[in-house]
Amino acid sequence: MSEAAQIQFDAIPSFLGASIGDLEDLVPGQVAIAGYFCDNLARPSAGQRYLARQLRYASCPTVTPANAIDLGDVNVFPLEPDKHFLAVASQCESVLETGARMVLVGGDSSGLEALDVAARQVTGADVPIIGVNGGAVSHLPRTQPVILSVDLQELAGKWVSHPHRLTGMSPAQMIAQIDATPGDTIAAAVFGLAPELDNRGKAETRAALAILQAVTARLEKGAG
């Protein structure tokens, strides 16, 4: 991207203050973060699609990850599920084929399904999905490609503005488990939270942002 274009984009909020780029800007090992604006397909709950926008607005450029890039949002067709799924999987595949690692942010769990298909396509094998749910960490070889599933509905009720349950994990517990994820984390999905878009959503937005930061750091590390 030219310097002039980059200067224009500097004013746009991005995930964790990362630079904004396109597919052709990606290099192997880089972490591509993309928003997923769809919350009506798997475990639908209106409002989850706004998480990506909320996290961009809340991002503080002082904690910018060294090796990440904000790709914008993936193109979605939420009213045409078949077309949607193929399109999202294909876009994720294009990102992973560059050798970059990918994080899908926001929406419902349908993004994770598309990421799974894309990862399988690119690696030529099934890629285990590791959920951040407080369970025991499985033992996997360092080089085993894995996908990290970060369902923010696993957070305990006191951390979110519209709780689904009383008990659950704290953001710190989630971050610790993300850090300890075994294998070579090639992709991740952070989803399941419909943030309040005003001050009432401050705590959950900060929690989600800290979790996204941990996910990005884990992907930057590569093989654990």
């Binding site: 009720g157 979110v160 519209h162 349950r165 009383l166």
Partner: protein, 256 residues
């Protein structure tokens, strides 16, 4: 109309079908709303609780661990406490577990009046004389603050089992002698206002919602009736109080 909207109208509490008490089978539950309103104190809103609980179980897709019917809300015109007592008696006689969603504390009086000889497990911050003077000993869950001297003497003399909110939050929730059969009364004011604001009573230093769930869930009693009072959902925009009531109810019914 989409299916989710239709479901909200046609299904009752925790997706139970609406029905009448004669349709309830033995060992099933009959859920009934009694939307009475508190008439003292600055905090009100209990009349909204039964429908708010139905709505939240529908939104979150929460089910009950037992089968049953939602009997709708009791008509509060006329002598409703007598009607409530009669309904509870009929259900218990047929082996049905009445689950009564209040309402103010007068709802619990109606339920307990139908079962005068059974012990009560009472989750509430302040011990009540009318419960302490029942024939069978009451088990007190989550007492907090100054207790009325006369009631406290009664509890001590009769060696009733009690735990404070703090003891329970610190993990001392092992009740030595829980009865085989009892009535469960949960006044949502037993929960600390800081954790869940939707109650009519102010209870700083009260129980954590998750403690209430685990303490009730750990009791091996076969509940003959369950009543929830003191929930004022409009005072808790996050819905933690409703969630506490729903999860405690599920924990209680897990042993049924």
């Amino acid at each position: 109309m989409n299916s989710a909207r239709k479901q909200m109208i046609t299904a009752g509490y925790a997706d139970l079908p609406f029905g009448i008490h004669s349709q309830c089978k033995a060992d099933c539950v009959g859920v009934m709303g009694v939307p009475s309103e508190v008439n003292t104190g600055p905090r009100s809103g209990t009349s909204l609780a039964p429908d708010a609980l139905r709505k939240m179980t529908a939104q979150l897709g929460i089910g009950l661990p037992v089968d049953g019917r939602d009997l709708g809300n009791l008509d509060l015109s006329g002598d409703w406490p007598a009607a409530l007592e009669q309904l509870v008696t009929q259900m218990v006689d047929h082996g049905v577990v009445p689950v009564v969603l209040g309402g103010a504390s007068d709802v619990a009086s109606g339920v307990l009046g139908a079962l005068p000889d059974l012990p009560v497990v009472a989750a509430m911050p302040l011990a009540r004389r009318d419960i302490a003077t029942r024939t069978a000993n009451t088990i007190w869950v989550g007492l907090n603050g100054d207790q009325p001297a006369g009631v406290w003497d009664l509890i001590s003399q009769r060696k009733m089992d009690w735990r404070t909110a703090r003891q329970l939050d610190e993990g001392h929730g092992d009740y030595s002698d829980t009865p085989e059969r009892a009535v469960l009364w949960i006044d949502i004011s037993v929960i600390d206002l800081g954790h869940a604001a939707g109650s009519v009573g102010l209870n700083p230093g009260g129980m954590k919602p998750e403690t209430l769930v685990s303490v009730i869930g750990a009791m091996s009693c076969k509940w003959q009736a369950i009543v929830i009072t003191g929930l004022a959902p409009a005072r808790d925009t996050r819905g933690m109080s409703e969630l506490a009531a729903i999860e405690t109810l599920n924990a209680a019914l897990h042993n049924e």
